[in-house]
Symmetry: C2
Subunit: 316 residues, 2 copies
């Protein structure tokens, strides 16, 4: 009925070391206790595993047959347990993170580099999806952490704002708007706009905000991915309204960003995790690194920083 692993471990040690004293010492136990463990195990099984005189110990036929299996069982068990303990001590193990592409390009690489340096043994699986898919991946456990654009909060998830990212007007250096210090939404009326289609979370957010402010903007041209939109801007097709962070520093030197005002519309990038779900140590370590790196320093001046919240769930 009850699984007497201690008895089996005792048996293995006695058999391996060939004596109760040595085995007792190895197990940090008195010889008395060890004797009793073996006796208990044998009584429970109803057969003898060890033939012992006062002078020597030998395996019985049954004991000899059982020993290899017993050894393997004990070894595997200790190894499993040790590995789990290491996971907590060293935060070892793999992490799966779901993330919106823009963040995957911009902020995350630095974090992943730092993480890889600190925990060389751990692998990071990065699921780059759109905003709703990120939320889904976290909800169903596919990823432990997610980074996406804040949307109506799902009850199963907790959010932790990382940074805010204002929408800006992207245009080429030779565009009339490129030299302005800012543009208002109303002023966009006469400009050829490149829109990003609805699959992105950005579009939903933007539409919602614009509707709230009764601003009507229509694009002349629509593309799937923000990066395509930038390519079109760079090619002189027109201007695009995109989150500031969409443009990687250094790339497309001919594209300018002009702040959009009245109102300033921001998307909020949030870190999400399952409510009431404990993070694995590996994920916890990543979480810590992420919040630490994305709060005090980093992030271009165009993105508004948010105060870091010590938002990590308490560990047991």
């Amino acid at each position: 009925m009850k699984l007497d692993i201690d008895g089996i471990q005792a048996f293995v040690q006695v058999a391996k070391l060939g004596g109760f004293y040595k085995a007792a010492d190895r197990l940090n136990l008195s010889q008395t206790a060890l004797t009793r463990r073996i006796q208990k195990l044998e009584a429970y099984l109803g057969l003898r595993l060890l033939d012992r005189t006062t002078r020597s110990v030998a395996l019985t036929a049954v004991g000899r047959e059982f020993l290899p299996r017993a050894t393997r069982l004990v070894d595997e068990l200790t190894e499993s347990v040790d590995r789990l303990k290491d996971m907590s001590r060293w935060a070892s193990g793999d992490v799966a993170i779901a993330c919106v592409p823009s963040m995957a390009y911009q902020q995350l690489p630095a974090v992943i580099r730092a993480y890889a340096e600190k925990f060389p043994a751990n692998r990071v699986r990065l699921l780059d999806r759109n905003s709703t898919q990120v939320a889904d991946a976290v909800r169903n456990g596919e990823a432990e952490l997610g980074i996406h654009i804040r949307m109506r909060a799902h009850p199963e998830l907790t959010e932790h704002p990382l940074l805010q990212d204002p929408f800006m007007l992207f245009c080429r250096a030779d565009h009339p708007a490129s030299t302005l210090s800012h543009v208002t939404w109303k002023a966009l009326r006469g400009i050829d706009l490149i829109a990003v289609s609805g699959a992105s979370g950005n579009r939903a957010l933007l539409d919602h905000q614009l509707a709230r402010h009764k601003i009507d903007i229509r694009g002349r041209c629509e593309v799937e991915h923000p990066s395509t939109a930038i390519a079109l801007v760079s090619a002189g097709v027109g201007a695009a309204i995109l989150p500031s962070a969409t443009l990687l520093e250094g790339t497309h030197p001919d594209v300018r960003r002009v702040p959009l005002q009245e109102p300033v519309i921001r998307r909020t990038i949030v870190l999400i995790r399952r409510r009431n779900a404990a993070l694995s140590p590996a994920a916890q370590a990543f979480h810590d690194l992420l919040t630490r790196q994305l709060s005090p320093a980093a992030s271009p001046a165009l993105s508004t920083r948010l105060p870091a919240r010590a938002g990590r769930g308490k560990r047991l």
Copy 2:
């Protein structure tokens, strides 16, 4: 340090059944105790395996990773333990028995048949060796029981006499001695004898006894195996001195056995086992069957029966 298999088993059951109450019921435990087991395991490992709200239970990332291994460990352990318990209850398992050939032909087949009928699942490995090899096999644990000719007792072994077997003169029906009711050793002087070489335990015993009685017998022809000797007798080469039990009933109808007297020399067939060595249940069952069958009934009239001694070591 300590292997908490109960905790792991608890974890497995909770994960499998998806709830503490169900798992507690399955483990014949209160929900309280189960909660504590999980808590203890998690505290020991330093990480959470189960995310539990008051309403539901879900695996953490670590828990999900650990579950398959944990399940396998618990299953293998229970299966091993159950098999060992079955071994004691049903006397299941294999038995190795070392035995001198003559007994292997004569008495043992009936015992093995009975054993096979009673324990169909058990296999019997029969090591047919000569007398000293039988003793060796038992001493080094190759066989749990041995049947051989009594020789100077080894201190590691205990003996249990099974039957006595007088040496007789084997001759063909047309041999001059074949009609005699008995022959004395002295009368063998003028007879062509077929001797069996020294490898057999019989020869050593016989030489020793003959020397003690100052009887000098030399064979004209020497063979290795008793069965060969009988074949030669049957072919009319001469007569042979062999233990009575050498001749299987029904075989060689032309060969007669004539009792040898002055003195009657007997070999004693003994059952041996390691001193202080507990028998496996399977071997114990065989032991019981053997002593029961070879004491009250059986054995031809020519072999002197010995009273059965209740010589089985006490089981725990």
